[in-house]
Amino acid sequence: MSTDSTTTVDRTEAAGPKGRVPAPRRGRGRVPLSEGKRAERKLGWLLCAPAALVMLAVTAYPILYSVWLSLQRFDLKFPDQREFVGLSNYVTVLSNGYWWTAFGVTMLITVVTVAVELVLGMGLAIVMHRTIIGRGLVRTSALIPYGIVTVVAAFSWRYAWTPGTGYLATLFGEGAPLTERASALAIIMLAEIWKTTPFMALLLMAGLALVPEDLLKAASMDGASAWQRFTKVMLPVMKPAILVALLFRTLDAFRVFDNIFVLTAGANQTSSVSMLAYNNLIRGLNLGIGSTMSVLIFIAVAIIAFVFVKLFGTAAPGSTDEGGRR
């Protein structure tokens, strides 16, 4: 999200001491920095160095380490046979049916849940935004599902859908819905949607606050219907907030793990890619194959972020050109 502002700091820093100015990008002009300004930049860089170092230690190192692991045959069961195998783990994983099944399941869950959450979240956001009486109460209670620990909620869903202990299983006739693929996937998605719609609503509500009341009134004066005001006025103004909300949720949804872990443990082909990576790493003790999957998931997440940022022009609120860059 903050890629843009980091690169700015980076560039000035590199240019700083020698006073050389890099070629201006996208036609944005840049004046040489004054002495005081440069000192301030340096101090700023020093101040954020500890945080940057910690980030390097806790994110960059593990990422690089798993890339390194993914290039090896490294199986805790056979410690003596550890060797460098190049990209053959990637060939193994990418030519494996289980991987692509899990990938398909993950994509399905991502697309369906994010789409449903967007619609429901928008509705909830408008309700929360427009409520006059008991606003605090409405907002708090809407957020309750998001406040419950996912694993705990997942266990409630599991018991609810298990014949014998649950009230929901009997509603839909005989049989155990969590043991059939289609119904199990539907339940996983339901649990995901139930849990994260409030989060979506919260992000969208921030966007709703950006819509000026005057604009809506003016549109209303011009005879726009409620639906027209929503699609022609609110949505365009909210677009940045919607894209941010979608980006956050898509990244989250793609890494879905805890609900599946508790509800089906991946039985009947309901594994997500994260579940598959867990199974190969922790249960299979195969660090090579498992890390390969982790790296592939990382790449997939990076692609999603790239598509959102570069193609749809998603940007963090406050980092747009007109806005916050000081």
Binding site: L43, K77, F78, Q81, T179, L276, R283, G284
Partner: protein
């Protein structure tokens, strides 16, 4: 911002104090994880699955130790998978807080190969091997070295209704025919056993392969074989699943479901572990009176079955701070006297042959002769460090049993098992 000295020495002192407090807070739990050597008596942490009366055995061993060590029973989760995950994660991190480990027989080779277990040598090894049945002992070995002491074992038996069947069937074909005959006469006829996609299905398949004289892996455990016997076993399993004599939920049945199905009176036969008998005596004493046991049916009429053994081995972690005391504690926990106690009170069959002859065993184990006969001619699951991975892909390929295509299924399993042995397999 501009004056970095604002705040002065007092402030930096406070910061240092805060940093120190944070460091302490971070380190304190680690220190608490340590040995816990209060009073100089070494604590031996026993990690073992929930077993109701194991604490009494532990107390007894602690009394016998006379202050040389004190065993603390740390109860693992109930599900086998969760037990293994906990052990594996902590051993991979070289956790010294675990001393004696209760390992399922199928994990022993894996943990030994990973270098997490101490070898049993000399007098300790002799003690662990003394009078121990060959099958269970084999599950505790890896590359001709002993890495654990068998604590208890288990085998499945054939349970049948004497009011419906006069003679127990000796082969699967015979059993299927008996059941079809009963079905024709409108009597309870079903053959109930475990067929869900999990370890239980692999146990059944392994028994069939061994009974048909086949092999899954070569005897060194280094290569996937799946020979004619393994294909024959697939035919038996497929024919059984398609004969119309199983329950409708066969491909979703695990141990307890099978027990309940049989207890409800739907079955003429049940293939299951011995725990079903005391449970039946409690739940339906009338039915229990009509039920007898026999050796598991074989594949070939002239060769008795070879049945897969289960059970638990006790191993000592390589990261233990007190290996000597740990070996001693493990030896005590599985000595003949304690095996007898656990067999009677917790229903886990002993690994030491002489224990079966003890008079108290007759009441708790009326079927002990059959168990012993099976144990003396038993089959182990493939003794490979990669067993867990092999088992996962086997159960996925075997399920549902009614869809087995013997030759093709064998080819697919051979390939998947070979991949698992070469760390190339992907687990579902």
């Amino acid at each position: 911002m501009t004056d970095p000295h604002r705040g002065g020495p007092a402030r930096s002192g406070r910061i240092r104090l805060a940093a120190g407090a944070v460091a302490l807070a971070l380190l304190a739990p680690m220190a608490a994880c340590g040995s816990g050597e209060d009073g100089g008596i070494p604590t031996i942490n026993l990690y073992y699955s929930p077993e109701q009366n194991l604490q009494k055995v532990v107390d007894d061993c602690n009394a016998q130790a006379g202050g040389r060590y004190e065993i603390k029973y740390r109860v693992l989760p109930r599900a086998a998978d969760e037990q293994r995950v906990q052990l594996v994660r902590r051993l991979a991190a070289e956790d010294s807080g675990m001393d004696v480990l209760g390992l399922d027989v199928t994990w022993t080779q894996e943990f030994a190969s990973a270098g997490w277990l101490l070898e049993w040598t000399g007098e300790r090894r002799a003690e662990a091997e003394r009078g121990t049945l060959a099958g269970p002992l084999e599950t505790a070995q890896y590359e001709d070295k002993l890495y654990a002491a068998p604590k208890n074992t288990n085998v499945q038996l054939l349970w049948y209704r004497t009011d419906l069947v006069s003679q127990p069937p000796r082969t699967w074909d015979e059993m299927i025919n008996f059941a079809l005959g009963l079905k024709g006469r409108g009597q309870p006829y079903r053959v109930i056993t475990m067929g869900a996609q999990y370890e239980g299905l692999v146990v059944l398949y392994n028994t069939l392969v061994a009974s048909a004289g086949g092999q899954i892996l070569n005897s060194e455990g280094t290569k996937a074989v799946f020979d004619d016997g393994a294909v024959r076993a697939l035919e038996v399993l497929r024919d059984f699943a398609n004969a119309g004599i199983t329950t409708s939920s066969f491909s979703n049945t695990i141990e307890d479901q099978a027990r309940l199905d049989f207890q409800s009176g739907a079955g003429a036969f049940q293939l299951n572990w011995p725990f079903v008998y005391p449970a039946m005596q409690e739940a339906d004493p009338e039915l229990a009176k009509k039920v007898k046991w026999a050796r598991f049916p074989g594949v070939d009429p002239n060769t008795p079955s070879k049945v897969t053994i289960g059970g638990v081995n006790l191993a000592v972690s390589r990261f233990s701070r007190h290996p000597e005391e740990s070996f001693e504690a493990a030896t005590c926990l599985r000595n003949p006297e304690h095996q007898k106690f656990s067999a009677i009170n917790d229903g886990v069959p002993p690994t030491i042959e002489s224990v079966y002859a003890e008079p108290e065993m007759a009441e708790a184990y009326p079927m002990r002769d059959t168990i012993l006969a099976e144990l003396k001619d038993a089959a182990t699951r493939p003794l490979s460090p990669a067993y867990q991975n092999i088992s996962t892909v086997l159960s996925a390929t075997l399920s549902p049993p009614s869809k087995i295509q013997p030759e093709r299924t064998a080819d697919r399993m051979r390939e998947a098992a070979q991949d698992a042995l070469e760390s190339k397999g992907v687990l579902p």
